[in-house]
């Protein structure tokens, strides 16, 4: 009988102590998302199913699989699994193959009609041009995210390997 009473009182006391502790020791906002975001290649290509790199970083922090980034490739998976203490998993092919060399968009200038659709699509403003005027890609800025290829009505953008 005394044992039961003692055990009950013990659990009550410990429960109270933990409740007190969890109030006082609030965890600070997690800097995890920013660290993950810094490791992602920031091409904002969206091949991972998320509109940009930051949303994908938040998803990874929340626990989503970290193997959906084709530009990142195998090195990204190893660094992320090290950072998050998860085991290294193989690359998820459903999101496109791993890009080994960096690509650059290139506009074939004779076919471009100046519709500025690709300018709106480019996440890093790497395409220079205006309505009905000639468009060209800034080589240093282009991250090879292939987003401008789809909206182009005359399909005059092709992807070349960076020299």
């Amino acid at each position: 009988m005394i044992g039961i009473v003692f055990l009950l009182s013990l659990t009550l006391i410990f429960g109270y102590i933990l409740q007190l502790a969890s109030e006082k020791l609030k965890p600070t906002t997690s800097t995890l998302v920013t660290t993950i975001n810094n490791t992602l290649p920031q091409t904002q290509c969206g091949q991972c199913g998320h509109p940009g790199c930051k949303p994908y970083a938040e998803a990874i922090a929340a626990g989503e699989a970290h193997n959906k980034c084709p530009p990142g490739g195998v090195e990204l998976i190893t660094t992320l699994s090290q950072l998050l203490n998860r085991d290294t998993i193989a690359f998820d092919i459903s999101h496109g193959e791993i890009e080994t060399e960096p690509l650059i968009a290139f506009i074939r200038e004779d076919e471009c009609i100046g519709c500025t659709k690709c300018i709106q699509a480019c996440p890093v403003d790497a395409i220079v041009g205006a309505q009905t005027l000639m468009h060209t890609v800034i080589i240093d800025e282009c991250t090879g995210c292939k987003l401008c290829v789809a909206p182009c009505p005359v399909d005059c953008i092709d992807l070349l390997v960076r020299g």
Partner: protein, 306 residues
């Protein structure tokens, strides 16, 4: 960011049309000659031992050396790696030699065989082969034998009467009988000569033996052991031949001193506990495990692309 080791990442660097290689006369110092020179430095010590304990000493040394090479070739066969180049650097042979010296002259043959096999297989090849084993193979094998077969390991003939000595010491151990001081003094002096020659040949750094002896003296003074134990134990043999194994000792100068002082100190301390004949093997294994950490402490940080 953990770097992917280059060896697995890309095929081995193409040596053929790479840059010119230095002319090889500057090469007075390569792996096989190092190992041979260390073996030669052992000879004075072995001769003195042979004088006191009869030709059982030679048997043990050759037996352990032979089995060490057998163990090495077995593992290399299993791992489908070329056997001849690995054996031709005499490192397995040297490990066997060092172990053979520590075995009592009258020990049965299978003791040397077991010791040689464990030295080369468990001590060296299991951890990745030449240059990658954290523990000194000879000392590891000696420790296994000491803990596994305590009786056979501590039976030494009395140098004078040839009678059975129950708790006699091997060069690594301590002799209880006060009378038998002189044999050990001569053994230590012989190994001392070999060791100094090695230092002169620049095969071993001076920091390690010096540190071991200093550490040993300090702790014996602190713990209050009789001064004679300095001569009896493994001091000179261990300091010059075991502690200076380049593979298992640290690389930076400061870490070498710390490592050597640790080995000397621990040996004296364990010997003062009087439970085991001699603490050198334990001290070496413990300090070998600390060596990589010491290196990391004293290693200058290389500068990278920030």
């Amino acid at each position: 960011m953990k770097k992917i080791p280059l060896v697995e990442l890309e095929p081995h660097i193409d040596l053929d049309n790479r840059h010119a290689r230095w002319s090889n006369e500057a090469k007075h110092f390569n792996v096989p000659t190092t190992m041979l020179k260390v073996s030669m430095a052992l000879i004075p010590g072995i001769i003195v031992l042979w004088y006191w304990y009869g030709n059982g000493v030679w048997l043990q040394i050759l037996n352990a050396g032979f089995w060490a090479c057998i163990g090495e070739s077995i593992v290399l066969k299993i791992r489908q790696q070329p056997i001849i180049p690995a054996l031709s650097d005499y490192s397995a042979l040297l490990a066997g030699l060092l172990l053979g010296i520590c075995l009592p002259a009258q020990a049965p043959w299978w003791l040397g065989c077991w010791g040689g096999l464990t030295a080369s297989m468990l001590g060296k090849q299991l951890f990745g082969g030449l240059g990658q084993n954290p523990f000194n193979p000879a000392m590891l094998a000696y420790l296994i034998l000491l803990l596994g077969f305590p009786i056979e390991m501590t039976v030494w003939l009395d140098p004078y009467s040839g009678a059975d000595m129950q708790t006699a010491a091997t060069p690594l151990d301590r002799l209880n009988t006060p009378g038998a001081l002189w044999p050990w003094v001569s053994v230590q002096l012989a190994f001392l000569i070999g060791g100094l020659w090695l230092i002169q040949q620049k095969i071993i750094p001076y920091a390690l033996p010096a540190g071991v002896v200093i550490g040993f003296l300090i702790i014996t003074a602190l713990v209050g052991l009789p001064f004679t134990s300095v001569i009896l134990g493994a001091s000179c043999f261990g300091a010059f031949f075991i502690a200076t194994d380049p593979v298992t000792s640290p690389n930076t100068q400061a870490a070498k001193w710390l490592f050597a002082l640790g080995v000397g100190g621990l040996t004296a301390y364990i010997r003062s506990l009087e439970h085991f004949p001699d603490g050198f093997a334990f001290a070496i294994i413990l300090m070998n495990s600390l060596a990589p950490w010491f290196d990391q402490l004293f290693q200058p940080k290389p500068s990278h692309f920030k």
